[in-house]
Symmetry: C2
Subunit: 469 residues, 2 copies
Amino acid sequence: MAQITTPRPAQGTLELLPRQQVAFNRIADVVRRHFEAGGFLPLETPAFERTDVLLTKSGGETEKQVYFVQSTGGLANDREAVAAGDEVGLPDLALRFDLTVPMARFVAQHEGQLTFPFRRYQMQRVYRGERPQRGRFREFVQCDVDIIGKDTLSVRHDAEPPATMHAIFRELDFGPFTIHLNNRRLLRGFFRSVGITDEQQPLVLREVDKIDKRGVDWLREELTGERFGLAADVVDAVAGFVSTRTGSHAEALEVLAGLEGRDEELDAGVAELREVLEMLRHLGVPEGDYCVNLAIARGLDYYTGTVYETFLDEHPELGSVCSGGRYENLAGQYTRSSLPGVGMSIGLSRLFWQLMENGMVADEPSTVQVLVPLLDEALLPEALGLAAELRTAGLRVESVLEPAKLAKQFKHADRAGIRFVAVLGAQEVERGVVTVKDLQRGDQFEAERGDLAQALRVELAQPVAVRGD
Amino acid sequence: MAQITTPRPAQGTLELLPRQQVAFNRIADVVRRHFEAGGFLPLETPAFERTDVLLTKSGGETEKQVYFVQSTGGLANDREAVAAGDEVGLPDLALRFDLTVPMARFVAQHEGQLTFPFRRYQMQRVYRGERPQRGRFREFVQCDVDIIGKDTLSVRHDAEPPATMHAIFRELDFGPFTIHLNNRRLLRGFFRSVGITDEQQPLVLREVDKIDKRGVDWLREELTGERFGLAADVVDAVAGFVSTRTGSHAEALEVLAGLEGRDEELDAGVAELREVLEMLRHLGVPEGDYCVNLAIARGLDYYTGTVYETFLDEHPELGSVCSGGRYENLAGQYTRSSLPGVGMSIGLSRLFWQLMENGMVADEPSTVQVLVPLLDEALLPEALGLAAELRTAGLRVESVLEPAKLAKQFKHADRAGIRFVAVLGAQEVERGVVTVKDLQRGDQFEAERGDLAQALRVELAQPVAVRGD
């Protein structure tokens, strides 16, 4: 007998059963629809990039986690050279670790063929050679929107990614959520105004970034401690500043006004953030769903202006579910053109996994809406004809192709999560009708065969309580 | 100044500009919709698999083209060991080279959690370390449907993949096409009946598989030649057999009837193929769109019964655009359960590339349907409000955020492939209307602001001649 290899997927990947995948796809479809409504164009790039293109910036944590790709032949040559003691460089190809670097490469490459501002969305898998642990994935789906300007990009665009993300989280309905906004110029300017040097700023910013996790007291201790040695009153000013979260739109404007007049950079940041807030209001984002949070700094070095994080109000333990910001120069490593941009990103695999863990998403019913059972061998042509009619009318249909007891076929539909069973017995054929059992409502009805598709569509359009509720 | 790395993608990948990507996505959406209508469930698996799981079957051409994946740390350890002269095995992970092996692993792994027959579709990228050449890709999107039975699977299911694929190619409208059917049992039985041994059969089948490319004369020469040494009358029988292509459904049944009574295996194959043809008819597939083609053998060893290939009648040079077949045991390397199945596959990247090369697909208009220009700084709130209203009504909208000459904004819409420009000047605001310019039709109309979304939807639902036609 042939040897059996245990069937298991690569560690650190998220693979879903069909009805979980349906739930995942429903979310992904909402994301895609709003990305497109927001005026973003689809982009897909290959999973691997040339290593020299992918790793132009050196030293980042992410670059240390890159996955290299080698063909069978390439691997053999490489090993032969290593065994011979030759100097061997990195493999030619590597899997992307985010969607930003491939987009930067794409925009630089096709600059002359794109219209600017270039607005793209991208929903693809990215790869990180992380140590496997719960909720950390080596392959995960990321959903990004970005707007890239040629030479300049009005700060007004900074309101578009959060407006689009707002529409997404509102429709997904995981409970109340808030988009927290801040501005790196405002932050830097404020620090400068209290005497924190430009050299200290990135370090202090990094500590400030941890405040949501560790609290103000921890921050105060850290900053007065040996490493930073800041005066107590400076730390008090910083601590007061970074604990600022606004409520209403008016309060946000008031807080911003109160910061002005101390530093040029601070004022510039205030002006930008004010403009973004006004834009959000004009775009119809309810004021309860965004706030100014002066603690948001975002760890990544390349953000230069607006920064965002998004939290589910009732699930702060999930961390930010959608983040991003403004960057001054997207593709400096690939082109001399100046390409400022702004974007936000949802880590969809991680979010979905967290929602599953929290019981906040459930398996969906099957994509299949109708099962056409087979009661009797002689009825096969009729049953197939019915299935074909329903499919032509846009319904998703599974046919049973060998006769079996009806109870068994109902059980199959129930187990598979198929809502309707469209029974076509000899009597029904004679009378030109179909008996439909609705397993979700637990009732049944009869329809003229010609009216069936329409009747099912009407039923499907109405909300029903999910079984088990 | 920083060093510039030339921005280019990995060789042998298909990367599209936005309006090409829109065209690609339109096709992919049609494929997905019909896969779901056909009662197939979504499955997605990780791009990489454990090497021991992926490469259980050894020696295949495909396995020689596998791409191995190694993290930075894994690569370093590997090279250190090689340099030290240690025995080093293959890397732990490799990119999938098709969607069948990951599906087999998935089904074997989750056997107890799935309902059978398990019907899945999968539309994902696969990876092959091929030598780069025109139209051969190292990364390409494959679109598969398969139906997997537990222990048994009625041959009737063999009609479902081609019925679904038929619906897809009919809607895609690349011109007339024909699904060619054959059966491996019928082929083997026929060969046996003319005295070709079981050992010769796979070799003869492989030659037969080339007949569409090389012709009957070539086949006759090959089979009477040194390598096979078949008698002239046997070769004539084979040549006559493999040049059989049927026209109507009735002719197909007649041809099948004419083959019966010579060999048990042949009769079994005939009975299976007849059943599949009858099923296709009941499923409403027009008889002009399928045929029996006794030359179709499919190179792959694992097909055991029905086999299919699909050709665009007016573009035979494209080769088969959708192929597949029946296999007796999907996952023998992962489970002792018997899992017979049947499936078909579209190599979408390759097909799309061929269609582009042949001028059979064109860039689509932008996903963005409406541009809301900005005529005057003071009108920003109104313009943003209009954009938000249209988005809420389900339209895909780009807003201009800085005032510019209207002509420039029209030009932007035109270049980007955006059909409507919804102009809201001071006059329009006062009168509560919007002036819409339709760049596709080249006309304009005025609508009450509250009726605009509905008016645009009506316009979008109507077919328009594409510009340039």
